[in-house]
């Protein structure tokens, strides 16, 4: 069976859905960040697969480079927020963050 575009799109979809379930169910803030990374990687696989199989060309790979860079920046800020949350509440459980003050 020839490996086509749809195979890579299914892999991207599985990664995307795993990331969403991770974001929805994990109570650890770092676990939620891992879900965000999975979602972005699922989208990146789609970009690179379209770059290979359609006339999209190198534009797909360049956009996936931008996605990688922006995901790294967002992980840094989210981690700083998680550290602040831990320092203020002494727990990393996001279910404890249900008050708007402090």
């Amino acid at each position: 069976m020839e490996i086509g575009l749809n195979h890579y799109l299914v892999v991207g979809a599985v990664l995307f859905v795993c990331g969403i379930i991770c974001m929805a169910t994990k109570r650890n803030a770092i676990g939620i960040l891992m879900g965000v990374e999975l979602v972005l990687n699922g989208a990146n696989i789609n970009f690179v697969a379209f770059s290979h199989y359609t006339p999209l060309g190198l534009d797909g790979q360049i956009v996936s480079l931008f996605v990688i860079v922006l995901a790294a920046a967002e992980a840094a800020v989210a981690l700083a927020i998680a550290l602040n949350f831990y320092n203020n509440h002494l727990t990393i459980d996001v279910d404890r963050g249900d008050e708007l003050h402090g």
């Binding site: 859905v17 879900g35 999975l38 320092n87 509440h89």
Partner: protein, 205 residues
């Protein structure tokens, strides 16, 4: 089974298996390990798709940077040895059900589209124009670098190569964005007095 098929199925197995293991694990350190496995397999998938520069960047920045950052975060926010943070089973079942439904929706939508009909005649089966043999063999570093500097040597509709515009403005925007974000993140995460459980919360700033 050809080499490409064998590697695709192996890498798809490790990628999706690693992602499912990240979801199913309760221990955050084991989740980080399976995330490394999954992201490394995604980099190998990029190499299989002849995207060498993107695959190398994925290994350097994601596996070598972002996951290490996440593991730092895990170590710095570790709770006590007898504290277990678990999700209730009802939440797991509901989220799992919604996830499976969304997966079914995505896959059925994506496989129902005839991608060749969408792009018409300009499909890269012809070797003139887009399908430069260097790019299709993975030698993408120089064309990508030129595109990020604003010079594009290809036309994505399959026409013969001509000079076109690149991605200089997004490149500059992302560079400044990265600088600002890293300065902001290091300011946010500066060393402060940690809130002690016995003292007043207001005295810690």
């Amino acid at each position: 089974m050809s080499g490409e098929q064998f590697f695709f199925w192996l890498l798809a197995l490790t990628t999706c298996g690693g992602a499912i293991a990240v979801v199913l694990n309760q221990n955050v350190v084991r989740m980080a390990f399976w995330l490394v496995v999954s992201l490394g397999s995604v980099a190998a998938i990029y190499f299989l798709l002849h995207a060498d520069f993107v695959g190398t960047t994925q290994l350097l920045i994601y596996v070598g940077g972002t996951v290490v950052l996440l593991i730092f975060g895990v170590m710095l926010t570790a709770s006590g040895p007898h504290v277990h943070i678990k999700t209730s089973p009802a939440d797991l079942v509901m989220a799992g059900g919604v996830g499976v439904l969304m997966l079914f929706l995505l896959i059925s939508t994506v496989t129902a589209v005839d991608w060749k009909a969408v792009h018409g005649d300009a499909y890269p089966q012809d070797t003139s124009g887009y399908n430069d043999p260097r790019i299709s063999h993975g030698n993408t570093a120089r064309p990508i670098g030129l595109k990020l500097l604003g010079v594009s040597l290809e036309d994505t509709k399959g026409n013969p190569k001509k000079l076109s515009t690149g991605y200089l403005l997004p490149f500059e925007i992302v560079s400044v964005h990265l600088l600002v974000v890293l300065i902001g993140a290091s300011y946010l995460a500066r060393a402060k007095r940690r809130a002690d459980a016995n003292t007043d919360v207001e005295s810690s700033r």
